[in-house]
């Protein structure tokens, strides 16, 4: 399979991005979140809402059939195509990909991708119980235990004791919480010790409290245009190198065979597609940083391996060696990830991309957390498991 036979890499650029403070924003509505993220991105691009020609809205929890109207209502951006996608945790990336396709196709020059989610209006602490289309087979299924099923299978396959496995997972929590402590826009800023993470109350074994991300409110927005006109908008456009997306089954019911719960086809194929478009053959060496879907610590482990950040079964050693720490060779989730931002579903993919964008511009909100010598970064989300994965690769130089 060859994507874009006439080329794709560096044809498009992000010229503006915005991201709200994430957290329990009790006094802020969905429209306020949209305004906060959109106007930051519009100001960054030096344009106004009237300059946007098409908009893709990522949102999963607004009432059904609202379509793109929360965006047109909030920004008074009516009269243009605004459509909503609800592709679970990957919705933000899907909006970004749709915006890329709109500009790449020649349909228009200025496309907006915006993700916004108001989880704290749902009246509950978690994401609720029940998944899929069948109310009986899917009952009692929720996010923590769905992902937790990966853990026992992974421990067994790679011969980790429960203690070793738990330590591996906990170190991800420690890393991401330290990173989050430096991020002004994160929901949580608490630095945690390994003991605190290891001994935290269990949510769904072996995942404890700090293995799980929080539920937060937030929004993030991107303005995408043609690379050849990008500098008309701002001086440091960030180029789009490639993107990937792969859909699996809605529930594990439909993966009864050839699926061992330690690796996901949607992750593997999403990575493959993006690497091919970006011309990346050795992601471990060629990526300078990554924002990945750490909804649960064990998910981050799978992504390391399915995205080729390390060899299969070696996440444990790589974590021990600090490979993914902010001082390591491939820093992952340097803003604190979903662990510290929480996971307002539709917003997360664009929030992660915002972090890569700002890092590549050397313009992060706290200079203490700027990663040095960054050229290429990846952001990635994973809904499920094993439903859908999507990612985008950005660079601050052409080529």
């Amino acid at each position: 399979m060859m994507y874009f036979k006439n080329g794709f890499r560096d044809d498009l650029a992000i010229v503006g991005m915005g991201c709200t403070k994430f957290g329990e924003r009790w006094d802020t509505g969905l429209e306020d979140l949209i305004i906060e993220a959109a106007f930051e991105s519009l100001a960054d691009a030096g344009i106004g809402p009237q300059d946007v020609e098409v908009c893709y809205f990522a949102n999963t929890s607004a009432p059904n059939n609202c379509s793109g109207t929360p965006v047109s209502d909030a920004l008074k951006m009516h009269g243009i195509p605004i459509t909503r996608n609800e592709n679970w945790c990957a919705a933000g990336h899907i909006a970004l990909i749709n915006a890329c396709l709109a500009v790449k196709s020649g349909m228009c020059d200025v496309a907006m991708a915006i993700g916004a989610e108001k989880l704290k209006d749902s009246g509950g602490g978690g994401m609720g119980i029940g998944r899929g289309l069948n109310p009986v087979r899917e009952t009692r299924r929720n996010a923590p235990s769905s992902f937790a099923l990966i853990a026992e299978a992974y421990f067994k396959k790679y011969g980790l004791t429960y203690e070793q496995g738990k330590t591996m997972l906990s170190k991800i929590g420690v890393k991401n919480h330290f990173n989050g402590s430096l991020s002004p826009k994160a929901h949580f800023h608490n630095v945690l010790t390994l003991e605190q993470v290891m001994n935290a109350p269990l949510i769904a074994s072996p995942l404890g409290l700090y293995d799980c991300c929080g539920t937060s409110d937030g929004a993030a927005c991107a303005i995408i245009t043609r690379a050849d006109i990008a500098k008309n908008f701002n001086d440091d456009p960030i180029y789009i190198k490639g993107f990937g997306c792969s859909t699996d089954m809605i529930t594990p019911h439909y993966r009864p065979r050839d699926f061992d719960w330690t690796s996901f086809e949607s992750l593997r194929n999403c990575a493959k597609m993006a690497y091919e478009m970006a011309g990346i053959t050795n992601p471990r060496e060629e990526l300078d940083l990554a924002e990945v879907h750490d909804c649960f610590s064990v998910t981050e482990v799978c992504i390391y391996e399915d995205f080729g950040f390390c060899d299969r079964g070696t996440a444990y050693q790589n974590i021990e060696e600090g490979f993914f720490e902010r001082t390591g060779s491939l820093p992952v989730n340097v803003d604190g990830g979903l662990k510290c931002f929480g996971h307002p579903v539709g917003a997360s993919g664009i929030r992660m991309t915002y972090e890569i964008y700002k890092q590549l511009q050397y313009k992060v909100d706290n200079p203490d957390r700027q990663i040095k010598n960054v050229h290429r970064g990846l952001s990635q989300t994973f809904g499920g498991p094993p439903q859908i994965a999507a990612c985008i690769i950005l660079g601050n130089e052409k080529g």
């Binding site: 109310p135 009952t139 009692r140």
Partner: protein
């Protein structure tokens, strides 16, 4: 024509409360034995399915022609339970007559009587009679302590391969409000104790025994075993004393270890008798509930088929004590705990009906082209991509290996919060995703054997929704 019992099964739930704990909860003391308690995901229908499935050890489900369900506590006031049980047992809709027997605590033996008559009228046919009950007494009442939950089933038929021949049946009817539950009420009510005992149970049971002995010209000592249904041990002992029934003759109807299991007590006692008997022995079964039924059975040589298949003691040995009376009150919606998070999925009557082979029969599919087995039924094969080239396969009998799991502390109801999300691999290599029930946390591990058990999932859509959960092996198999 010889008619009688061709197969049998019993079921006692995993949970019990000791009566001393129950009394202590109300500031009292004493109390002997245990009260058997249906789990929060069980009801009379699911318990009946458990007992009925055990009947297929001796009579294959394909040879069942009718299913009768007997209970005073089925989840529906209007709608057949027997049709639902029949589907869960994977009987064929077009081949099975289903009927429900309700209201009286002797509904179990009432259904047996109807089945015996049907068997004689339709020689060669098999009628599966499943009885189950889970009644409520008022909190702190003797009934609350005395009632227990359980189920039993028998297959009735004619022919020369009976385990036990039913040689005689007789009954008396009596209009009396001794124990009753008005429509829509939760608790069994009762009249003044001595009135209940004297004009109800003792009078009716004496009458039916007298009638039976006279009509058959038999004496009590002719019976090797006596199954005497009673509301409590004290009443039972009065009959024992009057007829000089010896301790060796008396069959345990589980009053002490499980409680008065209502419509199931007579069948549970009968199963318990047949599990410990020999060819040639005669059994007297006496059941009570607005009148009384009595029958004489003679055990045949075919009883040897049951050797090593005893279920009741096994079920008693594999129980666990419920940790709190409060939890029992909440499960029974007597003092409901704080509701958990709302389910996000609506239930549809049309979808439930349409997908009954997948959800209620637990049918998967085997690809006719490549042989891959899949659950749920998959029109497009996940292995070879063929379209509509499959055969449906029943998976509810399969023993699986636990492939991976997670103990989820928040997915359950607030009064039963622990849920084990589980993936199990069946012998054909098909991995099935469900949740576990009746597990011991410290014994749960990847690779352990698990079986399917029919359970109530929730009542979304204002009707009970059933599916199959996984549990450590408990059902006795062939």
């Amino acid at each position: 024509m010889k008619k009688g019992i061709k197969s049998l099964g019993a079921y006692l739930p995993y949970n019990y409360l000791s009566r001393s704990a129950l009394n202590k909860a109300w500031g009292g003391g004493g109390g002997k034995g245990e009260k058997s308690i249906a789990d929060v995901d069980e009801d009379s229908v699911t318990m009946a399915v458990e007992a009925a499935m055990s009947c297929f050890r001796l009579i294959p489900r394909e040879e069942i022609n009718a299913l009768y369900f007997a209970s005073t506590s089925g989840p529906y006031a209007e709608k057949s339970h027997s049709a639902l049980i029949s589907v869960a047992c994977d009987l064929q809709d077009e081949a099975v007559f289903t009927a429900d027997f309700a209201a009286s605590t002797k509904a179990g033996t009432n259904a047996m009587k109807a089945a015996l008559d049907a068997a004689v009228a339709n020689p060669g046919e098999h009628i599966l009679v499943a009885a189950a009950d889970m009644r409520n007494g008022f909190p702190k009442s003797a009934q609350e302590s005395g009632f227990g939950d359980g189920a039993a089933a028998v297959v009735i038929g004619t022919g020369d391969d009976l385990l036990a021949e039913v040689e005689y049946f007789t009954s008396v009817s009596e209009e009396i409000n001794d124990y009753w539950r008005n429509a829509g009420e939760k608790y069994t009510r009762h009249a003044e104790g001595r009135f209940c005992d004297e004009e109800g149970y003792l009078s009716e049971v004496r009458m039916v025994i007298h009638k039976l002995l006279k009509e058959t010209d038999m004496k009590m000592e002719n019976f090797r075993r006596v199954v005497l249904v009673a509301q409590n041990a004290k009443l039972q002992s009065k009959i024992v004393k009057k007829y000089g029934i010896t301790p060796e003759q008396m069959v345990d109807t589980l009053l002490l270890s499980a409680g008065d299991t209502g419509a199931a007590q007579g069948l549970l006692g009968l199963v318990n008798a047949l599990e410990h008997t020999k060819a040639g022995e005669k059994i007297l079964l006496v059941d009570y509930g607005n009148g009384a039924n009595a029958m004489v059975l003679t055990v045949t040589k075919h009883i040897s088929k049951l050797a090593g298949k005893e279920q009741i003691q096994h079920y008693l040995d594999t129980r666990a004590e419920l940790d709190s009376y409060a939890r029992f009150l909440s499960w029974r919606e007597i003092a409901s705990a704080e509701p958990g998070g709302a389910f996000k999925l609506p239930a549809s009557t049309a979808q439930t009906w349409r997908e009954q082979n997948i959800n209620l029969r637990l049918h998967g599919s085997t690809c006719k082209k490549c042989g891959a087995s899949l659950y749920p039924i998959s029109r497009v094969c996940d292995a070879c991509g063929s379209l509509d080239e499959y055969e449906e396969v029943r998976m509810s009998d399969h023993i699986c290996k636990l492939y991976t799991y997670s103990v989820d502390k928040y997915a359950g109801r607030s009064d039963a919060p622990l849920i084990i999300q589980a993936v199990a691999e069946d012998p054909t290599g098909c991995r099935i995703y469900s949740v576990m029930t009746n597990f011991k946390l410290d014994e749960t591990q990847v690779g352990m054997d698990v079986e399917f058990t029919f359970r109530k999932m929730h009542e979304l859509g204002n009707f009970p929704n059933y599916f199959w959960k996984l549990r450590p092996l408990r059902r006795e198999r062939d």
